[in-house]
Symmetry: C2
Subunit: 137 residues, 2 copies
DNA sequence: ATCGTTGCAAACTATTTGCAGTGTG
DNA sequence: CACACTGCAAATAGTTTGCAACGAT
C-alpha cells in the first residue's frame, strides 16, 4: 500500500480515496477481479463512483506498473496487483483464476529468445482445466 | 480442407461456400486473423456476407475443433486453424502474432498437473516482445 | 488557484441475437 | 421440401471519451 502512494507521487498522479480503494481491493484478493467486479465490491463504500473511474484508474495503474492485465479468454480483462511474471490457471467451469508458482517457468523467456528472433520482454502463461471443486462434479 | 468437409458432415453441419471460404482464409495464412480481418479478406469475393456469419461460423469451427481462439491481449479474438497446443509470440509494436515451436513446452501441462490440484486440459502460452523488424527501430 | 480527477452520459467496438428469406442435403 | 444457414438490423457487453464540476496539492 505504501507502494501505491510512493509510485503515484513519483509519477505525478494525485492520491484519491477512489484510487486507494481500488488498489486495496486488488491487493486484498486472490480473485483476479475484472473492472466490473471491483466496481461491485466498492459500490457500498463509494455509491457515486462510476465504472469509468475504475477503468481510468486501472489504466494509470497499468502504466505505472502497479497492476498487470490478464486476458484469460473471457471477453473482459482481469487485473492482478501481483505484477511479477507468473502463470495462471483458469477453471473452465467456474471461471476461477488461480496463480501458479513462478519458479517452474523462469527459464522460458530465455529459451524463447534463443529459438526466435524476437526480443522477448514478457510472457503470459494460461493453463485451462477443472479446479479441485469442479473436477469432482 | 478435406478435414473441413469431413468434420462438418460428421457433426451434421451444412457445407456452404461461406464456411469453405472462411476456413480457406484461416488455413492459408500465418497471420492469426481476427473476425474483422477475415471479413475484409472475403468482402470482394462475398460482397453480401455479413460479419455475423463469420462469427457464427467461427463458433461452429471452435466447437468442432477446427480452429482455436487466441486472446493475445487486444480486445478482440484471433483465430488459428492450427489447433495443436502451441505457443505464440506477439510483437508489441506491430501486433504481429507468430507461432513458436511446440516441442519446448510439451512437458508443461504435466508439470502443472503435478503442482496444482487442477485437472489440466489445455494451455495458452503468449510471449511478448519486439519482432525482428520492429526491434531494430 | 491550478490543474488533475471524478462522475455522468454518450460514443464506440467487438460480439451476439432475432428473424424473415434462402438454399443445402 | 424441411430445416439449418445467411444476412440484415438491432441488441448487448465491455470499454473509452468529452466535459462540467470538484478537490488535492
Amino acid at each position: 500500500m505504501e507502494t501505491l502512494l510512493k509510485v503515484l507521487k513519483e509519477k505525478g498522479y494525485k492520491i484519491t480515496p477512489q484510487r486507494i480503494a481500488i488498489y486495496r481491493v486488488l491487493n486484498n484478493t486472490k480473485e483476479h477481479p475484472s473492472a466490473e467486479i471491483i466496481y461491485k465490491k466498492l459500490e457500498k463504500e463509494f455509491p457515486t463512483m462510476s465504472l469509468a473511474t475504475i477503468y481510468k484508474t486501472l489504466e494509470i495503474f497499468k502504466k505505472s506498473g502497479l497492476v498487470q492485465e490478464l486476458n484469460v479468454g473471457e471477453n473482459s480483462f482481469r487485473y492482478d496487483a501481483n505484477v511479477k511474471d507468473h502463470p495462471h490457471i483458469i477453471c473452465l467451469k467456474c471461471n476461477k483464476v488461480d496463480d501458479l508458482p513462478e519458479n517452474l517457468f523462469t527459464h522460458l523467456k530465455d529459451e524463447v529468445g534463443k529459438v526466435s528472433d524476437y526480443k522477448v520482454l514478457s510472457k503470459q502463461l494460461y493453463f485451462y482445466g477443472y479446479c479441485p471443486v469442479c473436477k469432482g462434479e
